[in-house]
Symmetry: C2
Subunit: 162 residues, 2 copies
């Protein structure tokens, strides 16, 4: 309930140990047939991070974040895109929740299925063709506060049939 999209960060450094903790949480997500079809690119290079907003309109906070994680999928390991994006969605969510637990702020930036974002980030990071850039998560200590928001909607709940 406390996880919110945080787009402003302080300049306090997020440690490598913290990032490892986030990736441990991400890699503990369940995957179809337990295939674990994921890779994670940790971005700390200032120049590369600053270039992301040139092809992703909602990623201005990449200029402020000191670290980000690109969650990727291996299309040779999981060939069904429906399963791949479900698995990577769960892994991304684990990462966001663990960050909240650590007092860190994150926002989930969609990359897949938008070709206009996937192409440039492939070029920027040298990602091979069989690896899908899925979601990008900037991480930092929050410089904005957001209240808990309850999005429960009883109209979305159905009993024993549509």
């Amino acid at each position: 309930m406390r996880r919110r999209s945080i787009r402003k960060y302080t300049d306090e450094r997020v440690t490598n140990e913290q990032v490892s903790g986030l990736l441990k949480a991400a890699m503990n997500a369940p995957t179809a047939r337990n295939l674990r079809p994921w890779h994670f690119i940790v971005m700390r290079d200032r120049e590369k991070m600053d270039r992301v907003p040139s092809f992703h309109a909602y990623s201005q906070m990449m200029r402020e974040a000191t670290v980000a994680v690109l969650v990727c999928g291996d299309m040779k390991v999981q060939e069904r895109m429906g399963y791949l994006s479900a698995d990577l969605g769960a892994a991304t969510q684990n990462l966001l929740l663990e960050a909240t637990e650590m007092g860190l702020g994150t926002v989930w930036l969609g990359i897949y299925p938008r070709e206009e974002r996937m192409g440039p980030i492939r070029d920027l990071l040298g990602i091979p063709d069989h690896i899908l850039p899925f979601s990008l998560v900037p991480i930092g200590y929050p410089a904005e506060e957001k209240p808990i928001r309850d999005k429960f909607d009883p109209e979305r709940v159905h009993n024993d049939g549509w």
Copy 2:
């Protein structure tokens, strides 16, 4: 870390309040453009639950569970399937984690993108064409114990490029 796939359940009843708590967690997942393109069908009907294994080979535990949630997506609200399955993956994962927190056991059964499972569950529950049956989660008090498993793999972590 404590979330594992639990496929055996006791006959202790899972209450409606518990199910609401699970759906509250699910609906607090982030979604692309905050569209919240989800619906949830709560299954308690014994006859319907018992029919699932006839079209889903890995769902024998549906006969033992007293409740299950079918996570669905609205393809009119979110037309990009890549985003829809990412959003529903995150929502499903929130549900699994909240169940773990409550001492309940769950297992994520994949429905989408397998047509041979989507068609029969549409028929079983009267799901309209624009609604995507995505994942099915049987829920119960665990009748099996599994240790914590750490799936962290440092070979899946890359720094500043592939």
